[in-house]
C-alpha cells in the first residue's frame, strides 16, 4: 500500500517525526497558556482547572489523542536512533564534527528521554493526584520542594535544547528552507525554546524563591 510504503521510507519516517513534533508543539502552546494562570493567583488557576475538568469528555479525548501522538513520536524517534546507531557505530578512528554548536542536534534522543521521564513523573504527580486536595494546593506544595523544583527546571532546559534543534529540523523536513525566511527561522530556534523555558521553568522558580508566597 502506498501509505505504508511512504511511512516506512526514510523520508516518511522523518515526516512522522516532524508532524508529531509540530502537534506536540501546539499542545505545549495550549498547556503553557493554561499554566500561566498560576502567575495570576491560585483562584484563577483553580478556576481554569475546574472549568477544564467540568468537561471530562474533552479531557479524555484530548489526552488520548495526545498520548497517541506522543507514542508515535517517541517510538519513531527511538527507532530512528537505533537504525542510525547501527549504521554509524565504530566507523572512524578519528571523528571530527565540522559544524559548530551541534550539542542540541546530537542530544535529541537524550533530551527526548529526559522529557519522557519528566512527563511520567508529572502525570503521576498531578493528573493522578488525590482528588481531595485542590490542584492549586498540590502545585504549590510539590513545586516549592527543592529537588522536585530542580527536576522540573532541568527537564525544561532539556525541552529547550530539544526544541532548539527540533523546530528548525521540523521545518527542514517539511521542506521549508528559503533565504527569505531563514533569518526569521534561525531567530525562532532561540525565541521559541526560551519562551517555553521562561514560562514553564518560571513556575517552580516562582514557588522556590518565595515570590509565589502570596499565591
Amino acid at each position: 500500500m502506498w501509505f505504508v510504503r511512504f511511512l516506512s521510507s526514510s523520508i516518511g519516517k522523518k515526516l512522522i517525526m516532524a508532524t508529531t513534533g509540530l502537534l506536540l508543539l501546539l499542545f505545549l502552546c495550549t498547556h503553557v497558556a493554561g499554566n500561566a494562570t498560576i502567575y495570576m493567583s491560585s483562584e484563577v488557576f483553580q478556576g481554569y482547572a475546574d472549568e477544564l475538568h467540568s468537561h471530562p469528555l474533552i479531557v479524555i479525548v484530548f489526552s488520548t489523542i495526545f498520548l497517541l501522538i506522543f507514542l508515535a513520536h517517541i517510538g519513531m524517534g527511538l527507532f530512528l536512533f537505533y537504525q542510525n546507531w547501527q549504521v554509524s557505530k565504530s566507523r572512524y578512528s578519528v571523528t571530527t564534527r565540522v559544524v559548530k554548536n551541534t550539542f542540541s542536534s546530537e542530544t535529541m534522543p537524550y533530551t527526548g528521554l529526559i522529557i519522557l521521564t519528566f512527563l511520567i513523573v508529572h502525570i503521576f504527580s498531578f493528573t493522578f493526584s488525590s482528588s481531595e486536595v485542590p490542584i492549586s494546593v498540590t502545585v504549590k506544595e510539590l513545586l516549592s520542594g527543592f529537588f522536585y523544583g530542580l527536576f522540573y527546571i532541568v527537564s525544561f532546559i532539556a525541552l529547550a535544547f530539544h526544541l532548539n534543534h527540533g523546530f528548525w529540523s521540523m521545518l527542514q523536513t517539511f521542506g521549508l528552507n528559503h533565504p527569505r525566511y531563514n533569518d526569521a527561522i534561525s531567530k525562532l530556534t532561540l525565541i521559541l525554546p526560551l519562551f517555553f523555558l521562561i514560562l514553564f521553568a518560571g513556575i517552580p522558580l516562582y514557588f522556590m524563591t518565595g515570590l509565589g508566597a502570596s499565591y
Binding site: S9, K14, N84, V94, F174
Partner: protein, 251 residues
C-alpha cells in the same frame, strides 16, 4: 617552497573480506606545494622501492571535477580545507611534524575494496533508478525557446555541480545519502525538462537510496560543511517536498 616531514597513519586493508588496520609511515621532505594525492604518490614510490605494497586510492582528473578521489583526513572528508576535493587539497594546510590519519570514506553502502578505495556504485544505482530524463526532446532547442526563470536556472546549475564523490555520505553521522540524492533530484525538478517524470523520479530514487542501506537524515548539516562543491541542504528540503508531493499523488 618549503618542505615538511609528516607521520601518516593510513588504513590498510587487503580486500573487502580482510580485516584492516591503521599503519604508520614516516615521510620526509614533503613539499608544501604538493597536492595530497601527490604526497601519497611519493609515499607509494617509497613503499615500492622498499618492496612493500603501495597504498591503493581512487583518483582520475586530479583537478577537482571528476569525483573519484576522496578520503577522510583526521576525521574530515576531503580534509581541512573548505570546498575542495582531496586532489585539490594542498600540503600547505599541514605543518611540520603533523600526524595525519587517513581513512577510507565509510558507510554501510560503501564496502572497502582495498586500503582507501571504496565501492561507491550505490550512488550510481540511485541515479540509474531515475536520475535522468528519458523523454527524447530532439536536438538542442533554440535559445530562449524554453523560458526558464534565471533564479531556477541558477539553482539547478548549483545542484548540478555535484560530482558524486560521496563525501556527504562519509561525513554524515548517520551515513545518509540525502545531499547527493537531493542534488540529483533538484537539478531536474527545477527545470521544465525534468517535470514529466518528476514524481516517479522522487519515488524511485528515494526507494533505491533506502534499499542501498544509507542511514536516515537527522539534519546534522555535516554533509553541506564538507561538500567540495558547496551543495546546500536547501536541496534536501526540496527533496523532502518532492517526495511528500510524489507519495501523496503517485505513491
Amino acid at each position: 617552497m618549503s618542505s615538511i616531514n609528516l607521520t601518516l597513519k593510513i588504513w590498510r586493508q587487503h580486500n573487502s573480506d580482510a580485516l584492516g588496520n591503521l599503519e604508520t609511515y614516516d615521510l620526509d621532505n614533503v613539499h608544501t606545494d604538493m597536492s595530497f594525492l601527490e604526497m601519497l604518490d611519493i609515499l607509494n614510490e617509497k613503499l615500492t622501492k622498499e618492496g612493500k605494497e603501495p597504498v591503493a586510492f581512487d583518483h582520475d582528473c586530479r583537478e577537482g571535477i571528476c569525483g573519484m578521489c576522496g578520503a577522510v583526513i583526521d576525521g574530515v572528508a576531503h580534509g581541512p580545507e573548505k570546498e575542495v576535493t582531496l586532489c585539490q587539497l594542498h600540503m600547505r594546510n599541514f605543518s611540520k611534524g603533523d600526524t595525519i590519519v587517513i581513512e577510507p570514506f565509510r558507510s554501510r553502502a560503501f564496502p572497502v575494496k582495498k586500503d582507501l578505495l571504496v565501492d561507491r556504485s550505490a550512488l550510481d544505482r540511485i541515479i540509474q533508478s531515475g536520475g535522468y530524463v528519458s523523454v527524447n526532446t530532439g536536438g538542442t532547442p533554440d535559445g530562449n525557446s524554453l523560458p526558464i526563470p534565471s533564479s531556477n536556472a541558477e539553482l539547478a546549475m548549483d545542484a548540478a555541480a555535484c560530482i558524486g564523490c560521496g563525501a556527504c555520505v562519509a561525513s554524515c553521522p548517520n551515513g545518509a545519502a540525502m545531499l547527493f540524492t537531493s542534488a540529483k533530484i533538484s537539478q531536474l525538478a527545477l527545470l521544465p525538462q525534468g517535470h514529466a517524470e518528476r514524481q516517479q523520479r522522487a519515488l524511485s530514487m528515494v526507494a533505491q537510496m533506502d534499499e542501498e542501506g544509507f542511514g536516515n537524515c537527522t539534519n546534522a548539516k555535516e554533509c553541506e560543511a564538507v561538500c567540495p562543491k558547496g551543495i546546500s541542504i536547501r536541496n534536501i528540503a526540496r527533496l523532502n517536498k518532492e517526495y511528500l508531493f510524489a507519495a501523496l499523488t503517485e505513491g
